[in-house]
């Protein structure tokens, strides 16, 4: 009798050895022995009634042991098969990780908008509100109120597009200063981004470009505050360690007026191609608000003083990202727009 059990065991082991290449085959094999109806071990169980009664207990025990043993073998086999199949599945899914990525279709803000937002972030933290002015201005706000009367030679500094004798395309965002000061009393801290227009069209000039005007009006505002504020600004935009240099200039609406140079962020001031060997890059115009401008807006120039600055966004953007032609900013070439993602 025990021979039969041994033979069956051997048969199972042989089957596992030879006929169980997959989980499906293993399942079939299991069925051959353990299926409750057709399985060979189940069949043996059914022989019980033919067994001599005195041998029944021993036989039953033997079959049960065999069944348990077989179940264990098949469970082991199943584990083994599972592991093997998982491994095969993984192997089949092997990829070449150096193949190109699937493109993530996310767009970008325009480089000018990106720069504009970065600047707004810096100044918003200092308490500046954002005020956007119209693109079409009248002569008073664009020139006269900014201390540039009709016969003033400074009008030549900006070739103006006229729409009528009175209306024109804003040549500077400074008109926003006047609108603000007419409607708001100090303390004033505003930032005015906007489109401006000048009749100039070449490799470095575009007839439309963007400026960001800043204005502070409060008590005891000085050139030192202008310097301090712009130092913080350039450090945030162009990196720690960047400094500014003020030098005299002229704008009708500020007195004193300064050009502000930033230490070259490419070479750190040693002199390179970007700064043309000078270590400095011209970045914006600024000054103490001309007291005539304050007075034109009904602000007491004895009590209050102000500072103003105007940043050319194209220039700032081109410098920051190394864009070499202003025209690229207005051509909407996707090859350009895709590159600048400092959003």
């Amino acid at each position: 009798m025990s021979d039969r059990f041994a033979t069956m065991k051997q048969e199972i082991l042989d089957g596992i050895e030879k006929h169980a290449a997959s989980r499906a085959e293993a399942f079939e094999l299991r069925k051959q022995f353990l299926d409750s109806k057709i399985g060979k071990i189940s069949q043996m169980m059914k022989e019980m009634k033919n067994i001599a009664p005195e041998e029944r207990a021993g036989f039953g025990k033997g079959v049960n042991e065999l069944k348990e043993w077989a179940q264990q073998r098949f469970a082991e086999l199943d584990e083994k098969m599972k592991a093997r199949e998982l491994k095969m599945r993984y192997e089949k899914e092997k990829i070449d990780v150096t193949m190109p990525a699937v493109e993530e279709s996310c767009g970008n803000l325009h480089p000018i908008t990106q720069m504009r937002n970065q600047i707004i972030d810096v100044f918003a933290g200092m308490g500046f509100e954002v005020f956007e002015n119209r693109e079409i201005e009248n002569d008073y706000y664009n020139f006269t109120a900014l201390n540039t009367p009709k016969d003033h030679p400074a009008r030549d500094m900006q070739d103006t597009f006229y729409l009528s004798p009175e209306f024109l395309l804003a040549t500077q965002t400074s008109a926003a200063q006047i609108h603000t000061m007419e409607n708001k009393k100090p303390p004033i801290k505003i930032l005015c981004p906007g489109k401006v227009f000048r009749s100039d069209d070449d490799a470095t000039h575009s007839p439309m470009f963007h400026q960001m005007e800043g204005l502070v009006v409060d008590e005891k505002i000085t050139l030192c505050d202008l310097k301090g504020m712009l130092d913080v600004f350039v450090q945030k935009i162009y990196g720690e360690g960047t400094t500014t240099r003020l030098r005299p200039s002229y704008f009708p609406f500020t007195e004193p007026s300064v050009e502000v140079d930033v230490s070259c962020f490419e070479c750190g001031g040693k002199g390179c191609k970007l700064c043309k060997g000078t270590g400095w890059i011209e970045i914006l115009g600024a000054g103490i608000v001309n007291k005539k401008v304050l007075e034109n807006c009904g602000i007491d120039s004895e009590k209050y003083s102000g500072l103003a600055f105007g940043i050319g966004l194209e220039r700032a953007t081109m410098l920051k990202y190394g864009i070499n032609n202003i025209k690229l900013l207005f051509e909407s070439d996707l090859r350009v727009l895709k590159q600048i993602n400092d959003n």
Partner: protein, 806 residues
């Protein structure tokens, strides 16, 4: 403005290098755009004395023994026809650099280095030079223009460097002068600043002259347009001898690019460059009526200027006339009729001040810019007007080219600017700067700038020179002080006394940025296009004559026709952007612009026009369709907490059957659609393009939902798929509308299939919708949803004759 260092040195001692001076000028407000050495390319050229000079047989050459003093004596072969024994010529030693000329010996073709050579078997160590080879013109050195050797004077020291002799050891500063400093538009004006910044005295040029008793009887000057001519000074000079100017004057003129013409004309140019006051000299022989009259030109009145150009004038132009006719276009150029000739025997010098705006208008209007008009446009101070005349008369005497009569006519129309006193508070000056400038420094600086300062307590008293018309109050003084004291003294501070303010963007600005970012996240790239466009863009859009978009604001002085109209739609710029991309091989992409369109209230403008914020989206490529763009429209709606509705629409530049008008709360806000084939063809588009435009101003006036939370239903939701058969004309929107109105428990309706074909009647189509039902306060009963569906089907049948597909 070009400023030769040698000329500057006449008025102020300069003991620093040109590079150091450049830095000084920069720090006090005068940017040097370019600094260059006149004889930069020339080196190792010395005075050579030709001791022997023998012709080389059968050639035009001579072999010479040239004594170069301490440098030695060299054998040099020379082909010039004026080489002669005993002559002194510039000799370029071996290793010297000079200009290389073409075969004509005149055209410069770069530079060359002199090497030892052999000509026809003769050793040659060096080269005798012409004026051209040294970059010296006739005006820099007499005889330098000769096509042969430059002959040096007999007293030239043998072996000495020729650069100082020829004026090549000079530097030219190209200085940019800001608009507030017209007084610095001259060598003397800049010298004043240099003297101040170097703490050196200014050596003013001589204004001395002696008037003779001679008078021009009855001569009159009248100014009929005092508003355009505040000051006119005329002086009569007789016994004029027209001839060449002396070398020093010719050389200075040459260094700043001014040709020498004749002594009298040169004097007028020299004085303008030196003092900033344009001057003119009329030949008295051609002045009729013994008078000068300054008046507005008559309409259509003609003048021929010195350069033989004829101009037809208007009453906006100011002319200088004699008793009969115009003899000069005031402030711009003299008339040909009274120009200085070789025969001129008497002249009337003019030194005048004209209104800057008028000269600018005349100059612009006639397209005629001259050195004189450029200076007048920026303003000429009266200090210069008076002094320039004296200086010119002094030079007439110095050059011996005429006699100064006693006829001096000075018409001052009462607008003259005189030196004035100004008192400012020192504290206020320092308050502008934010630093305390020591009193002695303020005194030193203002003294150097000729303000004769005095301090009494807090009060600074200044005597403002007449040429400083820009000085008005304490901020001007602050600027003078700090630009000389040095901006490096300005210490960074951070508004210690200022009040705290709230910063950041307002709601509208935040919403705009949010919208832009949402579009970026949908794969779209932001564009910025010009606010102006072309009349041809309106044609591209096939807009009819009466289309509102054709009611544009025109720029009176556009750069060109392409940039002449303010945009009334953003569509054309977007189409052009798509076309540009396709030309560069970008065949698919998504672009958007948030810009303005300009709607005039009336034309011509006499009020601000309506500047309407507008969103334009353009998508193109094989992956795009009407519905991908509609997806972006829905994204816009969702971002703004609004709902958009779409109806079949039409646009002249869009596909007749793939265009929708967009509504929001019943108000039309824009359109979207496929770009029409004829437009696509005109732009050479290679893939389909779709365009959307939304008037954000109108959208912003709609009442938006708020971001609110709808509680989740505690009970399970259910959905049903309904395949419906209907007439082909019925739209998805119509079906959705009926379904929605049939039941209050509908959460969502989504079309998921459209079918036309054999399985349904030929004149019908099938649309399949997924309808989601959400329970209210109580859970659905077993048959609730079936009841809803039944009602929906009943309504569909009743309103649209729609059946459930069997």
């Amino acid at each position: 403005m070009l400023v030769p260092l040698s000329w500057l040195k006449e008025y102020v001692d300069i003991n620093i290098t040109p590079q150091e001076l450049e830095k000084k000028l920069f720090s006090c407000g005068f940017e040097v755009e370019e600094l260059y050495e006149v004889g930069k390319e020339i080196s190792n050229v010395v005075v050579g004395y030709v001791e022997e000079c023998e012709p080389i047989p059968e050639t035009h050459l001579h072999v010479c023994q040239v004594n170069a003093g301490a440098h030695g004596t060299f054998q040099v072969c020379c082909g010039a026809d004026n080489v002669v024994k005993g002559g002194k010529f510039p000799v370029a030693l071996v290793g010297a650099t000079v200009y290389m000329t073409a075969k004509d010996h005149k055209t410069v073709e770069g530079t060359m280095t002199i090497k030892k050579g052999k000509l026809r078997g003769y050793e040659s160590e060096g080269m005798l030079c012409s004026g051209v080879e040294l970059g010296v013109s006739e005006n820099m050195y007499p005889g330098a223009g000769y096509n042969g050797l430059l002959v040096l004077s007999e007293d030239a020291e043998i072996g000495a460097d020729v650069k100082p002799i020829l004026g090549l050891d000079d530097w030219i500063f190209d200085v940019s002068i800001t608009a507030n400093r017209p007084d610095c538009q001259s060598i003397l004006g800049l010298a004043r600043e240099v003297a101040a910044v170097l703490n050196q005295p200014l050596k003013a040029p001589s204004l001395e002259y002696t008037e003779t008793e001679m008078e021009k009887e009855g001569f009159r000057v009248t100014v009929d347009a005092p508003d355009l001519c505040p000051r006119y000074i005329g002086h009569y000079v007789y016994d004029v001898k027209i001839g060449e100017s002396p070398l020093w004057m010719k050389r200075r003129l040459a260094l700043v690019g001014q040709d020498s013409i004749s002594n009298i004309v040169d004097i007028t140019n020299y004085v303008m460059l030196e003092m900033g006051q344009p001057m003119h000299a009329f030949d008295c022989n051609y002045l009729e009526g013994n008078e000068i009259k300054v008046r507005r030109a008559g309409e259509g009145e003609k003048i021929v200027t010195l350069d033989s150009q004829e101009y037809s004038l208007t009453s906006n132009n100011l002319v200088i006339c004699d008793g009969i006719k115009p003899v000069a276009l005031a402030g711009v150029m003299g008339g040909l009729n009274s120009e200085i000739r070789d025969t001129t025997a008497a002249v009337m010098f003019e030194s005048a001040k004209f209104a800057r705006d008028n000269i600018r208008k005349t100059s612009r209007g006639l397209g005629k810019r001259t050195d004189a008009s450029a200076r007048y446009e920026k303003d000429v101070d009266e200090y210069a007007t008076v002094h320039a005349m004296k200086r010119a008369l002094h030079l007439v005497e110095e050059l011996g080219c005429g006699k100064v009569s006693g006829t001096h006519v000075d018409v001052n129309t009462g607008n003259s600017v005189e030196p004035r006193e100004m008192k400012v508070s020192l504290r206020k000056v320092n308050d502008v700067l934010g630093i305390e400038v020591p009193e002695q420094d303020v005194l030193r600086i203002m003294k150097n700038l000729n303000f004769a300062p005095a301090i009494n307590g807090d009060e600074l008293t200044l005597q403002v020179p007449a040429y400083r018309e820009d000085m008005d109050s304490y901020p001007d003084v602050a600027e003078e002080v700090i630009r000389m004291y040095g901006y490096e003294h300005v210490e960074p501070a951070f508004m210690p006394a200022a009040l705290v303010t709230m910063g950041g963007m307002n709601e509208k600005q935040k919403k705009e940025l949010h919208l832009k970012k949402a579009l970026c996240s949908a794969g779209a790239f932001e564009c910025i296009h010009y606010s102006f466009f072309s009349p041809s863009d309106l044609d591209l859009l096939r807009l009819p004559e009466e289309a509102p978009e054709r009611n544009t604001i025109r720029i009176l002085n556009p750069i060109n026709e392409e940039l002449s109209l303010m945009r009334t739609t953003l569509a054309a710029s977007m189409l052009n952007a798509i076309a540009r991309n396709q030309k560069k091989g970008n065949l698919e992409g998504r672009l958007f612009e948030l810009g303005k369109k300009f709607i005039p209230k009336e034309l011509p403008l006499n009020d601000y026009p309506d500047e309407r914020d507008t969103l334009c989206i353009g998508v193109f490529g094989e992956k795009e369709s009407f519905f991908t763009l509609k997806g972006l429209a829905e994204k816009v709606a969702e971002t703004l907490y609004l709902k958009f509705d779409y109806e079949t629409g039409e646009k002249t530049f869009l596909h007749p059957y793939q265009t929708a008008t967009i509504f929001c709360q019943g108000v039309e806000i824009g359109y979207l659609g496929k770009v029409a084939y004829e437009v696509a063809e005109q732009l050479d588009l290679r893939t389909s393009a779709y365009l959307l435009e939304i008037d954000m101003k109108t959208v912003s006036e709609r009442k938006a939902d708020k971001a609110t939370f709808v509680p989740l239903s505690r009970f399970p939701e259910e959905s049903r798929d309904l395949a419906l058969v209907m007439n082909k004309e019925i739209t998805c929107g119509q079906v959705e509308d009926v379904i929605r109105k049939s039941c209050n428990n509908i959460k969502g309706i989504r079309l998921f299939d459209v079918y036309e074909g054999e399985q349904i009647p030929r004149d019908k189509k099938s649309m399949a919708f997924k309808v989601d039902f959400v329970p209210g306060e109580e859970a659905f009963e077993a048959d609730s949803v079936d009841k809803f569906v039944k009602k929906i089907l009943k309504n569909l049948k009743f309103h649209l004759d729609i059946d459930l597909r069997s």
